[in-house]
């Protein structure tokens, strides 16, 4: 597939890396020479220096032959303008990153669609939604819902209390039981494996499990974690993510938002009436104690600075906060910060990349999510009529070794897949895949 990415910022370069390893032809347009050199020398892509909203540059990037044009520069107006131009010049599909919620209202979205922007993505808003979702499963590190909540992927870290430590997958499965969950992946020391029957769980593992609705409570029993009721929340940083999160949580929770900039905190408090805005330095321990940090159930650090977020989460953890969430934009810090005890990492790049990645798949993909803490992706496919996946039982199929089918949603029911499962057309299938196999997995559903 021919893909043009405008902007080699954090999201753009992550997309370039991901898509080029999936054998797509990538052209990256960027006007900052240093950034361009960084992506150009690190990944197998064609780099083009210039402004993405210039017609000449778009033509030079062979926009006519582009299957997807992705505008993810820093500037919203460049993204919108270049996406419209790209469509006009012949790109098949266009995606633009925005930072204005207004654009996403259905009527406005339609207007943009008419103008040529097929999909708009607002990473900060999605991040806020994810944070809110996570707080209702505070024991888990990550939660992804599929098919409107009929299947879930949970990620959790095994601490020394977990009863399943040092047991194999076979030992913990109950042969008479109807399968309610399935461990699809284990991340251990920054490597992700797809566990087979004889693999053991070890302390410190990050385990990814697919469950159907009924399986959640059993799962908690195995992990040794209890479901924490979250009432008091402290949000550090009045960034877009912070404000949106506070807004969404404010009605059911008691939320305190800390912002260092005085002007900004006034502005925030002006339109945030269901949360308490505090003007102060979030790294100041006295201030945090005064505001009752130790009584908090959750601490969410979403300042623009990854280091500050990580350190303040560690501090909160030391003070006894049970759930900590940090926004970490530096990819290299992600696994590090998970290992030192931060429960959940939020990363805008991965969020945006996952949403955009979906468009590059030839098969029908309802959801694709890039997980933090592992390079793997989890996807929900819709099995097409006569696609290879429907031809035989999973056991007899030559399915890629680096991928595993977790669960299936058929009509209103959902179940966990095993070797005997036969996929039927129109089933929604949840697949966990290591990078590099996503393309070949997709072929099974096409």
């Amino acid at each position: 597939m021919n893909i043009i990415i405008a902007g080699a910022g954090a999201v753009g370069s992550h997309l370039a890396k991901m898509l080029s390893s999936e054998n797509h032809d990538i052209t990256v347009i960027e006007n900052d020479r240093d950034r361009l050199r960084n992506v150009g020398s690190a990944f197998d892509i064609l780099s083009l220096e210039g402004n993405a909203s210039s017609i000449g540059i778009l033509k030079e990037a062979k926009i006519k032959k582009a299957d997807i044009f992705i505008a993810v520069t820093q500037s919203e107006s460049v993204n919108v303008a270049s996406a419209i131009l790209a469509k006009e010049l012949g790109a098949a599909k266009t995606i633009a990153r925005i930072d204005n919620q207004e654009y996403l209202f259905p009527a406005n979205r339609e207007m943009f669609q008419k103008k040529g922007i097929d999909y708009m993505i607002y990473p900060e808003m999605i991040a806020a939604k994810e944070i809110v979702g996570l707080l209702s499963h505070a024991g888990m590190s990550d939660v992804v819902d599929f098919s409107g909540g009929r299947l879930h992927l949970y990620a959790f870290r095994l601490d020394e209390k977990a009863p399943i430590i040092n047991k194999t997958l076979i030992e913990i499965s109950d042969p008479d039981d109807v399968l309610e969950y399935r461990a699809v992946a284990i991340t251990r020391k920054e490597k992700t494996i797809i566990p087979r029957g004889n693999d053991k769980f070890l302390e410190g593992d990050m385990v990814y499990v697919i469950t159907n609705k009924g399986g959640v409570n059993n799962l908690l029993r195995y992990t040794g974690k209890e479901n924490i009721e979250v009432r008091n929340i402290m949000v550090m940083g009045g960034s877009r993510i912070g404000v949106r999160t506070a807004q969404d949580l404010g009605d059911q929770h008691y939320v305190k938002l800390i912002e260092i900039d005085r002007e900004k905190s006034y502005r925030i408090s002006n339109h945030l009436d269901n949360a308490l805005v505090i003007n102060g330095d979030g790294t100041n321990v006295d201030l945090l104690n005064q505001e009752g940090l130790s009584k908090m159930d959750a601490f969410i650090a979403v300042t623009g600075n990854s280091e500050t977020n990580i350190l303040s989460c560690l501090l909160a953890r030391k003070m006894g906060v049970k759930k900590t969430i940090a926004e970490v934009e530096n990819m290299d810090y992600i696994s590090l910060s998970e290992n030192i005890g931060i429960d959940t990492i939020i990363n805008k790049k991965l969020i945006a990349a996952g949403r955009i990645f979906r468009f590059t798949m030839s098969s029908e993909v309802a959801i694709i999510k890039c997980l933090t803490g592992t390079e793997a992706e989890v996807m929900e496919f819709v099995a097409k009529q006569d696609s290879p996946i429907t031809k035989s039982s999973l056991r007899d199929m030559d399915f890629p070794k680096d991928a595993i089918i977790g669960g299936v949603v058929r009509g209103n029911s959902s179940f966990i897949a095993n070797g005997d499962t036969m996929i039927k057309p129109n089933d929604r299938v949840v697949v966990f895949s290591l990078p590099g196999s996503v393309g070949s997995v997709g072929k099974f559903f096409n």
Binding site: N2, S20, S21, N23, D25, I26, T27, R33, G40, S41, A42, F43, D44, I45, L46, S47
Partner: protein, 482 residues
């Protein structure tokens, strides 16, 4: 931590390719009814066997390659290629001495064209064919070839490409490195085949046409005749070879655009204009000198001058007239030309036109900078501002180039050679040209150089072909620091 297994894996694969190329000589020996087809069967067999084993037992290696691995693979790759490339020469007995065979093969792969052979015509067709093939592979580069056919290298491929095709800037013809490599080889093959056909029409027999096309497009300079191109006293053949030498010395990216009828890109390319300009000016000067000093008609003077200028500036090294027999000032001009080299991204060696032009431009601007100490005066090339990083890189390249020449020249004179010979031998080897001056001039060869000198010159050829940094970086302590 170096990814040793992956390095072995790729080197193994490269050897398998080399072995397959050796097999190409088998049909040639059969056509000419020569008995040495077993030579190529054995050489190719050994090479494929060793390569195949290394490749097979490391096939589960981690695929990630970084810059350091890239430099090691490329340097070792060229060494191994030359090492195994000696097999046909040694097994057939045509070059019994290992040192000589290595010199000849390295000179082939690096497209230098300096030879130790006294009597080229006495060799069998198979061996002559293998000799030309080494240049043809070396011209575009075996890494580029393997990138075109090897699917596995994504990001790692970039590192290899940068190490083998260093250039000043990188032009990709296609978003994927594999697509770029495949297009480069395709253009290379198209040009080679066209030249074969034209030379054949002009009266060469098929075998000579193929061999000379291989060595022209590679800007190599190996001939199947002792007298080189002068053997064919045909203006038509000489003009054909001139045209293809010019093409081979042009950036292949431009050829790609030309083949797609985007001539504006070619015409507006600053390096190409300078390249053609240099050829024009030097041809005029030398042609005029020849016309006045020798008894030649104007066309002959022009043709001899053009042929020799193009042959030297593109670092091919074909000879139609011994420039040492001209009046000495013209010979000095030829020596001067040896420093230019082809365009960046061509198969030519030397310093490369782009670096020469950048050096001149930057030095001229330095005067302006002295007068306006606070002014921002960047170097422009192709209507674009150049990063000061690129200028620094070019300056470092040229400094290294000259330093290596001076030190090596001292070494050569320690072996008992005079100034002409030492300087000529060193310049021609690092520039991958072929003929030198003095006792290694066009009328002589390198056979009389002592063994140690041959090894050293072989090393210089590799340093020159890989544009200095790729090899020299391995000698930097920083490279090996953990």
């Amino acid at each position: 931590m170096l990814n040793t297994r992956m390095i072995v894996n790729i080197l193994g694969f490269l050897l398998v390719i080399e072995g397959l190329f050796m097999f190409l000589s088998i049909p040639v020996t059969l056509i000419y009814g020569e008995s040495d087809f077993t030579v190529f069967l054995i050489s190719g067999g050994i090479t494929i066997l060793i390569g195949g084993i290394s490749w097979f037992f490391t096939r589960d290696a981690q695929k990630n390659l970084y810059r350091r691995e890239g430099y090691i693979i490329v340097t070792l790759g060229w060494l191994l290629f030359s090492l195994f490339g000696t097999l046909p020469f040694i097994i057939s007995g045509s070059i019994p001495s290992f040192t000589n065979a290595f010199f000849e093969t390295m000179s082939g792969f690096t497209t230098t064209g300096a030879s130790i052979l006294d009597d080229i015509e006495s060799l069998s067709h198979g061996i002559l064919f293998w000799r030309s093939i080494t240049q043809w592979i070396g011209g575009m580069g075996m890494i580029v070839l393997s990138l075109a056919i090897l699917p596995l290298l994504g990001i790692g491929g970039m590192q290899l490409f940068i190490a083998e095709v260093p250039g000043v800037t990188y032009d990709k013809l296609h978003p994927r490195i594999r697509g770029t490599a495949a297009r480069l080889w395709l253009i290379y093959i198209i040009f080679t085949v066209s030249e074969i056909i034209l030379l054949w029409i002009a009266g060469m027999d098929v075998f000579d046409a193929v061999c000379h096309s291989f060595t022209t497009m590679a800007t190599g300079g190996y001939s199947t005749k002792q007298a080189s191109i002068a053997y064919w006293d045909s203006p038509f053949i000489q003009y054909i070879i001139i045209v293809f030498m010019i093409v081979a010395g042009t950036n292949f990216t431009l050829s790609y655009f030309a083949l797609h009828f985007r001539f504006d890109k070619v015409y507006n390319n600053e390096e190409f204009r300078y390249y053609i300009g240099f050829i024009f000016v030097f041809t005029l000067i030398i042609g005029l000198g020849l016309f006045m000093s020798l008894d030649l008609n104007p066309e002959e003077a022009f043709r001899i001058s053009l042929f020799q200028v193009v042959s030297i500036i593109t670092t091919t090294g074909f000879i139609t007239s011994d420039y040492l027999s001209w009046i000495s000032v013209l010979g000095v001009f030829i020596f001067f030309l040896m420093f230019f080299g082809g365009s960046a991204g061509s198969t030519g060696g030397g310093v490369k036109i782009m670096r020469v032009v950048l050096l001149i431009k930057n030095s001229a601007l330095e005067l302006k900078r002295l007068i306006h100490p606070n002014a921002v005066i960047p170097v422009r090339f192709n209507h674009q501002l150049l990063d000061s990083q690129i200028t620094t890189n070019v300056l470092a390249f040229i400094s290294f180039y000259l330093i290596i020449i001076v030190i090596s020249m001292l070494g050569m004179s320690a072996l008992g050679y005079d100034l002409d010979t030492s300087l000529g031998a060193v310049t021609t080897c690092i520039g991958n040209i072929g003929p030198g001056f003095g006792e290694v001039g066009p009328a002589f060869n390198f056979n009389h150089v002592p063994d140690i000198g041959k090894w050293f010159l072989s090393f210089l050829m590799m340093v020159g072909r890989l544009e200095i940094f790729t090899v020299l970086v391995l000698f930097s302590p920083n490279f090996w620091k953990k």
